[in-house]
Amino acid sequence: MILDLHTHSVRSDDGRAKVANYCQWIKKKDLPLDGVVLTEHRQFDAESDYRELEDQYGLLILKASEVETDYGHVLVFGVNEDMVHAFDFARIDNPLPEVLAAAKSCGGFAVPCHPGRRNVGLFSHYEERGPVDDVEVVEIYNGGSIPGEDERSRQEADRYGYRGIGGSDSHIVSRIGLCATEFADDIATMDDLVSALRTGRCEARTWRT
C-alpha cells in the first residue's frame, strides 16, 4: 500500500491544490497511490471531512500536520486533542525535543521532513548544534527537493541510523505522488499509519526523474 505522506491543500497558506483535484489527478494519471496524508502548515485541520471523496475515488485521505521547530520542519502524525494542546502548532520555533516528546506521549509520531535542506532541514541544524535524541525516522525523499538535498538526507539518515519515508510536499495538484511511502501492511486509519511508522514496516519511494 502506497501513501503520499506529505501534501498541502488550499488549507495551507501557500497551498493551491483542492483535495478533490488531487483525487481526480491521481486517478487520471493512474498514479500508484492508495491515498494521501494532508499535512497543512502550522495547524491541524480538524474541520474538513473528506469521506465523500474517499468513497468517490477509492482513496484513503488522512490528516496530519507540518509544524516548525528550532531544528527545521517536522511532520506530525496522529494529531489529536491532547497533542494540539501540548505545543503551539502555529509557532515557528518549537523546540524539537518537545515536539518529539509531545507526539510520542499523545500517541502520535513525529518525522523531520526535507532534512537535507538548508535552514528548514534537520541536518543543517545538526551541523551547528549536534544531533537530537529520539529522532527515529526522517523524510529521505521529498518532491520539492533540489538536486543534492535528498542525497544528503539519505546519507545523513544512514549515518545516524534513521529510517526513511517519502512524500511529495505537493502544494499544487500536478506535484502529487512524486515521492511516497510503501507500507508492508494495509493502512486504514491514522492509528495504523502511526503503528507502521513506529515499527518501521514501510519504505520510502520516489518517482522523480
Binding site: 501557500d14 493551491r16 491544490a17 483542492k18 483535484n21 481526480q24 489527478w25 487520471k28 494519471k29 520539492g144 533540489i146 538536486p147 502544494h171 499544487i172 495538484v173 500536478s174 506535484r175
Partner: protein
C-alpha cells in the same frame, strides 16, 4: 484551443523565456520599476539577495504568455502565484503548465511553475483559471 479539445492532465508546451540582463532591463524600464535589485548583480547582493532577481510581475507575464500561446484568445481570469526562491537574472528557466481541472462553464484550472534549469529549484508555482472559447 476549445474547451472540447482539453483533457485533464494535458501539459502546455514548455517555454524558456529570455531572462537575460538586457531583456530584464528593457522590462523594468517599460514597467517603470527600474530598481538596481533587478538590473545590477552587485547592487542586489548588497541588499542581501543572491544576485539581480527577475521581477515577480515579469515571471507572471511569462506564465501568462505561455498560457496565451497555448490557447490564443483565452481569458486568464486569475493567476495566483507563490514566489518560493529568487530567480536570478541570466539563469535559464523553464515555464511549465498542466491542466488540473475542467468545469462545465468552459473554465480550466492550470498548475503553473517556473523552474531554474541550473539549480532545479522551483522559483514560482501557482494556479491559473482560464476561460477558453
Amino acid at each position: 484551443m476549445r474547451i472540447e479539445d482539453v483533457e485533464l492532465g494535458d501539459e502546455l508546451p514548455e517555454e524558456r523565456p529570455d531572462v537575460s540582463l538586457e531583456t530584464v532591463r528593457r522590462f523594468v524600464k517599460a514597467a517603470e520599476m527600474d530598481f538596481p535589485r533587478f538590473t545590477d548583480h552587485e547592487a542586489a547582493r548588497a541588499e542581501g539577495l543572491p544576485g539581480a532577481v527577475i521581477p515577480g510581475i515579469m515571471s507572471q507575464g511569462q506564465l501568462a504568455a505561455m498560457i496565451h500561446r497555448w490557447a490564443p484568445g483565452c481569458s486568464i481570469l486569475s493567476l495566483d502565484t507563490i514566489f518560493r526562491t529568487s530567480m536570478i537574472v541570466g539563469t535559464p528557466v523553464v515555464c511549465r503548465g498542466a491542466v488540473t481541472d475542467i468545469d462545465d462553464d468552459g473554465i480550466v484550472e492550470i498548475d503553473v511553475t517556473i523552474i531554474s534549469e541550473t539549480s532545479g529549484a522551483t522559483g514560482v508555482l501557482g494556479t491559473a483559471r482560464v476561460r477558453l472559447t
